[in-house]
Symmetry: D2
Subunit: 365 residues, 4 copies
C-alpha cells in the first residue's frame, strides 16, 4: 500500500528518481512460460524515451533495459522479474532555485508538505522518468495479453485545441508522426500549434485515447474492483492526468437512456451490441465490445516564462525555470497509457479465473 506497488496477482513495484542511479521495476506474479527478451521491452521504452522530436526534452538517455531476474532460457519462470535502466545524462547543474522554491503546477510543495525532505534534482521521484518502470512492465503485460488475443492501441486524440474527430481516424498513421496521432494532417496542425507554444514559452495539454479489442466478457469485479474503477485509478495515477472517461464518458451525462443504452443482438458469430456507448464495460465488467478509454492530460507545468510563486521561507518570488522540458508530454504518455491499461487488464483476467466453481474443478482435475 506504500504507493509504488500496483496490482494484486500481476503486481509491479517501481522505484527510482530522475537523477539517481537508475529507474526500475519488479514484476511479481508474471505467469511462467512467457517468452520475453530485452528487445521486447526496449521497443516499448523507445516509444517514451526523450529526444524523439523537437517537442520532447533533449535530455540524452538511451534508456537501455536490463533483465536482472525471473527469466531463464528466454522464458519467464513465475518468479519476480527485475528490470533496470541506469540513468546516464544526469546533467550536473545548479538546482538552487528549485531546491528552495516551489514550481507552480509541480509536486515540489506537496512533496515537502508530506515528507519534509525532497530529492529536488530533476523532480526526483515525481519526474516523468518514473514512468519507465510502468512501461517496462507494461511491455510484459502487453505480450501476455497478445497470447490471449487481446490488443491495446493508444494514440493522441487531441493536442490543445486540435482534436481529431473519430471519423477521421487512421490507425496506420499513429507511428508515422512524432505525436502518435491517428491522422497525419491533424498531426501537422498540432505541430504548428506546439511550435507556437515554444515560441511563447508556453506548453500544451491534450487527450489520449486507448482502445482494447478482443477482451472476453465478464472480466472485472462487481463492486469496488470494477474494471472501469481500476482503469480509472490506473490512468489517474499517471502524473498530469486530470480526468478520465469510458465510452461516451462525460457526453453520457447529457444523453437520454434511449440513446445511451446499447442494444444487444445475436448473429452467426455470437453476441454483439449495435452501438458501444458503454465503452465495453457494463456493471464493472467487460461486455465483449471494444473497451474505449480517454485520459485528459494537463499542459506541462515547466514553462520558461517567469512565474509567481513562493520559496521555502514563505517569501513571494518570481521564478524562471531553466532546463530541458517537453512543451507537451502527451505523445510520450501514449505508451504509458497503453502500459497502465495492459497492467490492469492482465491482473483482472488472472483474478477472474476463480469466479466459478465449475471452472476451478475443471482446472484442478
Amino acid at each position: 500500500m506504500a504507493g509504488s506497488t500496483y496490482g494484486t496477482l500481476f503486481q509491479i513495484t517501481t522505484w527510482g528518481e530522475s537523477h539517481g542511479a537508475g529507474i526500475g521495476v519488479v514484476i511479481d506474479g508474471c505467469p511462467a512460460g512467457l517468452p520475453i527478451s530485452e528487445a521486447d521491452i526496449q521497443e516499448y521504452l523507445d516509444r517514451r524515451k526523450p529526444g524523439q522530436s523537437k517537442f520532447t526534452t533533449q535530455r540524452k538517455e538511451v534508456d537501455k533495459i536490463e533483465i536482472l531476474s525471473g527469466v531463464f532460457e528466454g522464458r519467464t519462470t513465475g518468479t519476480p522479474i527485475s528490470l533496470l535502466v541506469r540513468n546516464q545524462d544526469q546533467k550536473s547543474r545548479d538546482y538552487s532555485n528549485i531546491m528552495n522554491s516551489y514550481r507552480p503546477g509541480h509536486a515540489d510543495y506537496t512533496f515537502d508538505s508530506k515528507y519534509g525532505i525532497r530529492d529536488y534534482r530533476g523532480g526526483g521521484r515525481s519526474s516523468g522518468r518514473e514512468t519507465i518502470g510502468r512501461v517496462a512492465a507494461g511491455a510484459v503485460a502487453c505480450k501476455l495479453l497478445k497470447q490471449l488475443g487481446i490488443e491495446i492501441t493508444a494514440y493522441t486524440k487531441s493536442i490543445g485545441p486540435i482534436v481529431i474527430p473519430e471519423e477521421e481516424y487512421d490507425y496506420e498513421c499513429i507511428r508515422q508522426n512524432h505525436l502518435y496521432m491517428p491522422n497525419n494532417t491533424y498531426a501537422d496542425q498540432a505541430s504548428a500549434y506546439l511550435e507556437q507554444c515554444i515560441t511563447n514559452q508556453d506548453s500544451s495539454g491534450g487527450i489520449i485515447e486507448c482502445v482494447v479489442t478482443n477482451m472476453p466478457a465478464g472480466i472485472g469485479e462487481t463492486v469496488f474492483e470494477k474494471l472501469d474503477a481500476n482503469l480509472a485509478k490506473a490512468l489517474m495515477s499517471i502524473g498530469s492526468v486530470k480526468g478520465m472517461e469510458i465510452g461516451d464518458g462525460f457526453q453520457a451525462a447529457k444523453a437520454q437512456g434511449s440513446h445511451n443504452n446499447d442494444a444487444f443482438y445475436c448473429d452467426g458469430s455470437g453476441i454483439h451490441k449495435k452501438t458501444n456507448h458503454s465503452g465495453g464495460i457494463l456493471g464493472g465488467m467487460s461486455d465483449g465490445s471494444p473497451i474505449i478509454l480517454r485520459a485528459a492530460i494537463k499542459p506541462t507545468p515547466s514553462i520558461s516564462q517567469p512565474q509567481d510563486t513562493i520559496n521555502k521561507d514563505g517569501e513571494n518570488i518570481s521564478m524562471t525555470i531553466h532546463g530541458r522540458h517537453d512543451p507537451v508530454i502527451v505523445p510520450r504518455a501514449v505508451v504509458v497509457v497503453e502500459s497502465m491499461t495492459a497492467l490492469t487488464l492482465i491482473d483482472m483476467l488472472m483474478i477472474n479465473m476463480s469466479s466459478r466453481l465449475d471452472r476451478i474443478i475443471q482446472f484442478y482435475e
Copy 2:
C-alpha cells in the same frame, strides 16, 4: 481483493442484494473514540432512500439502520462496525422476462458471463441498493473528517442539458430542492426536463460535483496510490459513473501551461494559490486548496419503452421493462459521491501518518 472491500486502513466491506434479506457493511479499522449513533448514519441514508420525489423510484423502503457491533456506550471501540439494513418492500412479481433476457445498459449479460448464475430479482447485487453500505460507512467517515475540520459538499451540477454555471452556485439551495442542485431556478428547469423524460418513457444523465475544504497538504501517496487516482477509483466504482475529473479536468487538456499553473503566494494566514485549476491535488497529493471532483453519470438504463435485445438462448427479442425506476439517479447518487470521497480521504489521512520518521518518533514518545 475479491471486490466488495474498499480501503487499506479504514476498510469497508459491503454485501447484499436488492431483493435478499438485507444490505449491509462492515467497517474495519475505524479509529476508537468516535461518538456515533444510528441517527448519525440514518441522516445520510435518508438522502439516498427511494421515494423522496416523483423522480425517484416509488419502492417503499425506510432503510432503517441497525448498528450490530463496534460501538460501545456511544463510541467506536476500534473493532469492526457492522451495519445492517433489512430489505422490506421486496415486491413479489414476475421476473421471467428479466430472468431470461439481458436488459440493455444493465449488468445482466456481464453477470451471467462472469458467474454463470445471477440473482435477477431487482438487479441483485448490481442494484443501486448496493450503495446503502457505502453511504452508511460514508456517514461514519464524514463524521471522522469533521473532527479534523474537513468538510465535503456534493451536489448536482447538471441534469441532461441543464448545467449550472459555477458563478450561479448557491450552496444554501442544495437541500432545498429534490435534485440537490445549488440553484433552485436551475432545479426547476431540470424538473421540467425530467417530467418530459418521464412522458417520453426515457431517462436522463447528469454530473455530480464534490468539493472538499480544509484538507491538509501532503495527503496521498506519490505514484500508484495518488490521492486523485484513489478518488478516481472511488467514484468510478459507483454504478453508472462513466467519467471523472479533478479541477479543470478535461478542460486542462485544451489549456496552456501559463494558464493552467496555479501561482503560489503567501500571506499572513499561510500558503495559498491564486487559482485552483489543479483542483487541490498536485503530484498525487493534496495541495491545501479545496479538492474539486466531478463524476459523469449515465442515464438510468431502465426505461419503459420497448428495446431490442437478446435472451439467454441467443434469440433477438424486443423487451419492455416494467417496475419502479428512477428517471434519473443523479440526485440520489450525490450522497454516494460524498461517501466514497470521505472513505478515500480518511483512509489516506490515516496512511499518511507514518510518512516521516520524526513524526513517528514523536508519536511513540
Copy 3:
C-alpha cells in the same frame, strides 16, 4: 489490513463482540455455483458451540446461523455471503471488576493500551465467540475443498500432559468423545485430568493436530506467501495459540538431513514420498503428501482462583474472576483450526490458478 479481514481472493471479514447484538462474517470472493445451506454451516458451528459437555462454558447459545446474502436458489452467486448469528444469552451481570481491572493472561490491558476504550462485557471482541465468524466461513471453504476432493481432519492430540501417540490414533473416535480426541481411552484420561483442573480452580492447555489429504502439489507461493507461512499466520491468529509447526516441526531442529529428507519414489499411481517429515510442504508449496499441522494452545486464562493483578488506576490488587468459563478450550478450537486451514487452502488454490501462461491461455480459449 485493518485486521478483521483474512484472505486475498477468498476473503472473509468477521465482526462482533461477545455481548453485543451478534457475531457475523462476510465471505467475499466465494466462487459461484456452490450448493450451500444454513444446515451445512450449522453443522460446523455446532461443533464449537458452548454447552457440549461439562468442560465447556455453560453459556446457553444455540448459535443459529442466518444467510443474509450471496446465495440464490441454494447456490452461491459469486457475490458476498453475509452470515449472522444473533447473541442470545448475554447474561446481565456486574462487570465492575473486569471493567476497571486487567485479568492476567487476557487482552484487557493490551486492548486498553491500544484503543483507550474497551467493551469489557464478556471480553468483547477478544472473546472466543469471535471465532464463530471463522467457523461459519470455514464451513463454506470446507465444502468448496470437498468439491476438489480435499479433506481436512483436525482433532485434539493432547490435553495437558495426556498426549496420544500417533500409532494409537483412531480417527473414528474423534466425534465419539467430547474432547474430539482420536482415541477414547486417552479421552477418558484427559477427562479425568480436566476434572482435577476444575477441582483445583485451574485450567489446561493442549495441542490440536490437523491433517489435509489429497492436496495437489505446487500450491503456495515461493517467498513470503508460502503455504506454510500462511498456515502459520492462520493458526497463530486464533486466540490462545502460542506455537505452530508443520510435519516434524520442532523435532526437525534436532534431526539430521539423512533422516529428515523424504525420498521421492514413483509407482503406478504416481509420485510419492517414502516418509513425510516435511508435513506435505516443500519450499512453501504443497508436495502432494498429506499436510500435517500442529497448534499449541495455552490454558484458558480465566480461572476462578484469586490472582494478583492491577487495576486501571495502577493499583496492585487481588482479583477473582467469576462467570462461565471453559477449563480447556482445545476441544472447541478443533473446528476453528479446521476452518482456518480450509480458508487458507482455498485461497491459495485460487491464487495458484494464474501461475502458468499455458493454463491461462487454455482457460480463456
Copy 4:
C-alpha cells in the same frame, strides 16, 4: 499478493535467483528522514554472507550492497529504496543431474509442479541467497526501530541435540563464535557435532531464538492481523523453518492456567508482569514485556551421501548432490530471523498510529 512482497505500510519486494545477475529488494513506505548508508546495510549482510566459517558454503560472494534510489544526501526521502547485490561467484558447472531430477527435501519438485519450468542453477529462487533482500531491508527496519528505542537480538539456541538452557545465556558471546550462540562452551560442543555431521556427509537442524525489548504495549491488530500471527508468517516464510512459537509456546500446551498466567504489577517505573510466559504478546498485541520468539530450522537438505529420488521422467534413481553447501544453515539464518522480525514490527507500529481518534486529531493539529 504475488508472493515476493511483504508488509502493508512498510513494504518490501524481493527478487533474484542464486545464479542470475543479482539479488535485490525494493523497500516502499520507509518513512522519510532516516539516516542510512550502504555501510549500515553491509554490516547486516556480512552476518549472513557465505564463507564465514567451515560450516558455511565456500561460495565466494562479497555480497556488496548498492543503494539505487530513495536516499538523498544520506537520508531516506520516503520514496522506494532499491537495493542491489550483484552475484559474482556463479560457478559454471554441470547442472544436468539437478536439472532433470528432484532433490529430496528441496523445492525442485514443487517448483516444477507449480510453474512447469525452473531455474535449476543453484536452486534458483529457492536458494538461500533469496534472503539477501530480506536482510538488506531488515537492516533498514532495525535502524528505524532503534530510533524508537526498540532492540532485536537473535541467536542460535540449539544445533541438533546441543541446546543452551536459558540460565546459561551470555549475550556477549553471540558474536564471539561462528555459530552465533550465546555461550562459547556450547558453541564448541556444537562445532564438534557439526564436524561429525560433515564427516558423515550429513547435516543438522537447530533453533533460533529472538528477543525484542522496549516494544510499547498495544501494537498489533486484534483478530487476523495479530502481532504473533504476523510474526509467525514472517518466520515461517523463511526457507527451512518448520515451526515457530511465542513465549512458552509448545510448553504452554502442557501447562495449567495458574502457572501460565502472568501476574501484572505496578511499581514506580510503570506496569510490569511478574513472569513472561506470554512472550510479550496478549490478545495479539504487545504487552510491554520482551517479545520472545523461536523458530525451528530443519537440517540442510543438501547432503553429499547418495539419496533415493526420482527424475523428471518418473524413474526411480539414486542421486548424489555435489556443490558447496552448509552442513547447517542456522547460524546464517540468525540475521534473517532478526530481519523478518524487524520488518514485521515496524510495519505494525506504523499501522497502529491510526488506532485512536484523539491521536489522529492531535497528529493533524
